[in-house]
């Protein structure tokens, strides 16, 4: 079923065609905007949202083929359904339109009944595609969703330079036992909302949530100029947000929470692991193990944020650090220099 009142853009250099097409779609209950050539059409498409494009091929300045090529290359517009309406001669031109991603081809003069059916089908397909995109966004981050849309899905990873963050709530098990499960769920939801906010505002991506813990990536799937600096800034904001959250909880006479964060920087292999049916975007490598060890180590040294030497080298001056010396972590061959972020009295 066609969405009532969809917003269409009609591009045609010929006035009679423009008027007739717009009349046809208006009689079908849609709204139509008009453009005289491809260049104007692209400007409008980049400025405001449209549900469907009715595109002529023969046009001065920028023809329909060029419009299709530009749409295909634009991540924001590549999914816009396009119905080509043209009296262009030659089957090879029609084939070219379809090859360039046009949803459908209607010869001019356009048959109104056929046009209605094609518009309905295209809008329905768009609706399903939008729904699918929403789902992908809900279960993956928008960065992963974008990466999936651009590069497609394939299992396997690529080597990238990134900072990896692990964070969890201290004494969470005790907390869970002391309160009804409904309250724990509510606490977790608020906690995750705050942490996601801090992490994504610094360009990071939460790629895993396990109980009260989370893993975040800075520099993957999309590269980040200053991954170490961003990760540490996010960590400091997370601690601040938890402090504010605790003030509210104390006021409501609820137990406060504390978190520990570990950050390590280096080369990781990032990509999709799992099966063709179900996969997750993740990172693996020594850097990931080290970040997890650092997070666990925050408990023993009573610090909120611990980072490794590589993260420290990536930091600009101004971040307060305390050198905790060399540390030998379980399962690691080399000793690691560890630094705590923040005041001495953390």
């Amino acid at each position: 079923m066609a969405e009532p009142g969809a917003r269409l853009l009609i591009v045609d250099d010929n006035k009679v065609n423009r008027l007739l097409l717009s009349r046809n779609v208006q009689m079908q209950g849609h709204r139509a905007e008009l453009a005289e050539n491809g260049r104007i059409a692209l400007e409008m498409l980049r400025r405001e949202p449209f549900d469907l494009l009715l595109l002529d091929i023969e046009m001065p300045e920028m023809d329909g083929f060029a419009v299709l090529e530009q749409l295909k290359a634009d991540p924001q517009l590549r999914d816009l359904p396009v119905i080509v309406t043209s009296s262009v001669e030659g089957l090879e031109n029609i084939v070219r339109c379809i090859g360039l991603g046009a949803e459908d081809y209607l010869p001019k003069p356009v048959n109104a009944v056929l046009l209605k059916a094609r518009i309905g089908a295209s809008l329905e397909k768009k609706r399903l595609r939008d729904q699918q995109k929403d789902l992908v966004r809900r279960f993956a981050t928008s960065e992963v969703a974008q990466d999936l849309q651009q590069s497609g899905f394939s299992l396997g990873g690529k080597r990238v330079h990134a900072s990896v963050m692990f964070s969890d709530i201290r004494g969470f098990t005790t907390l869970v036992e002391s309160q009804p499960p409904e309250e724990t769920i509510e606490l977790l939801n608020t906690y995750y909302t705050l942490m996601f906010d801090a992490i994504s505002s610094h360009g990071g991506v939460v790629n895993q949530m396990i109980g009260d813990g989370l893993m975040a990536l800075f520099g993957a799937p999309l590269p980040l100029d200053d991954c170490a600096g961003s990760a540490v800034a996010a960590a400091m904001e997370m601690i601040e947000l938890i402090e504010q959250f605790n003030l509210e909880r104390s006021a409501a006479q609820k137990p406060t929470i504390r978190i520990g964060i570990g950050i390590a920087t280096g080369n990781v292999v990032a990509g999709y692991t799992g099966t063709q049916q179900r996969a997750t975007y993740t990172c693996i490598g020594d850097t990931v193990n080290l970040a997890a060890r650092l997070e666990a180590h925050t408990k023993s040294v009573q610090r909120a944020i611990l980072i490794d030497a590589a993260t420290r080298y990536g930091l600009r001056a101004g971040v307060q650090l305390i050198a905790l010396g060399d540390m030998q972590f379980k399962g690691k061959a080399v000793v690691e220099q560890v630094y705590a972020v923040g005041q001495d009295s953390a």
Partner: protein, 115 residues
């Protein structure tokens, strides 16, 4: 309406789907635009501009078929497919024939309202 000039079925179908009043306005638009297309064809021929020649013929073909002006559409299509002729005189003759047919179409399209 002269049926040898305008295909009555096509025209009636157009009125049926878009509304008679709207089609009357659309005819006016066509009658305003078409002389420009004919002029563009002539100047493209004179200036030897193949692309403009083809595009003007294409537009005229497209609009003619919308109103069921089948013969005009066929003449315009011929010019679109053939492009500029090596012999300009032949294009000039074809253009003259096109203009004669357009004049007939214009009269036929105006007829239902005048009469």
């Amino acid at each position: 309406m002269n049926e040898s000039v305008i295909d009555k079925t096509v025209y009636a179908e157009l009125e049926h789907t878009a509304g008679a009043e709207f089609v009357a306005e659309l005819v006016d638009t066509f009658l305003e635009e078409a002389p420009g297309m004919l002029a563009a064809l002539r100047s493209a021929r004179t200036e030897n501009h193949a692309e403009r020649f083809r595009r003007a013929a294409h537009s005229l073909k497209s609009n003619s078929s919308t109103f069921g002006a089948s013969k005009l559409a066929a003449l315009a299509r011929e010019l679109e497919l053939k492009g500029l002729d090596a012999d300009p005189a032949r294009d000039m003759a074809a253009l003259a024939a096109l203009e004669v047919e357009y004049a007939r179409v214009a009269v036929a399209l105006k007829a239902p309202r005048d009469g």
